[in-house]
């Protein structure tokens, strides 16, 4: 009798684990940081309220970032970013829609660290471009830690740098993404 109970419990636990491991994962507290090194000034800012969903079954993923959510240390830099460069009132969100192209190589039911190949479309400042990068996906029991670092060119997204400071502000921006995703229930 006890043996039957034990087997039933094990089967249920396994089923629950499989159903989570094949489901969707999400976060609303992801972090995105950007950094640009330039002669005039280093530009860096962080957003701590990034929303993301990953469908582990298909590998489809989506990120959304409110541009006004980026925090700068300098007030003037934050104002210029929102008003002159990114035009946050006109283009309030940046979004990535894509997928993990090697999703079949990731075992969401087994704790471990995997390299994820990511491909999709990144929209910033109302301009959408194809993006291809790699990231690290760490499966840790029931949650996932996803990290990726990639570079974008401001000119690709029609972000205009005033000619007076054109040579002093870098066109190249390093973007770091760090998210801890948990199972999306329901």
């Amino acid at each position: 009798m006890l043996k039957k109970h034990l087997i039933a419990t094990l089967v249920l636990t396994l089923m629950a684990s499989i159903s989570f491991s094949q489901g969707k994962y999400f976060t609303k507290t992801g972090k995105i940081e950007f950094f640009s090194k330039a002669p005039l000034e280093d530009i860096e800012a962080k957003n701590k309220t990034v929303t993301a969903v990953l469908d582990s079954k298909s590998g489809a993923m989506q990120f959304a970032v409110q541009m006004k959510g980026f925090e700068f240390e300098k007030k003037l830099m934050q104002e210029h970013f929102n008003e002159n460069y990114i035009e946050s009132n006109k283009f309030p969100k940046a979004e990535f829609k894509g997928s993990i192209t090697n999703n079949s190589e990731i075992n969401y039911a087994k704790s471990g660290t995997y390299t994820a190949k990511i491909k999709g479309k990144l929209t910033i400042h109302g301009v959408t471009k194809d993006v291809e990068t790699t990231g690290t996906l760490k499966v840790d029991n029931d949650h996932l830690n996803a990290e990726s670092v990639f570079n974008i060119q401001l000119s690709d997204y029609d972000v205009k740098i005033p000619s007076v400071v054109k040579d002093k502000i870098s066109n190249n921006i390093k973007i770091t993404v760090e998210t801890k995703l948990e199972p999306l229930k329901g």
Binding site: F26, K28, Q62, M67, G69, K74, K75
Partner: protein, 148 residues
Amino acid sequence: MKRKIIIGILIIVVICGFIGYRIYSEETADIVNKNPDEITDVKSLIAAFDADTASASKKYIDKIVEVTGTVKKIDTTGSLVLGEEGHLSELVVGLDRRHMKDYEKVKPGSVAVIQGICSGYSKGGGDDLLAALGTTVELKSAGVKNKK
């Protein structure tokens, strides 16, 4: 006379340079304990955006907002989530760099008063993957307010 003019110009240049440097190096303000522009609670804030996004945006976005609500999740890397258990519509809070340890003042399930700048609103729709996440209102540069 010429010397006086040169000295005058130099003084003006130095003053302008000083003012320019002050403006350039001014840090973003710590607004956590400033007087808020709006006072509300999580449920009313989300309902306001759901009912009329345009007028809620006008009222709250870029404003200092004090919000009371139940803490659902604590992210020790600088974020809090407030809302009702079982509902995915939530207030997501990014803590100000000077208030990164404010998560220690709250516990999951406790009622907290948060103050920050309302930085955005989103509600998924259609076949969007994010649609399942309900309504999300965001605060940045925030902290846990010490109420009298």
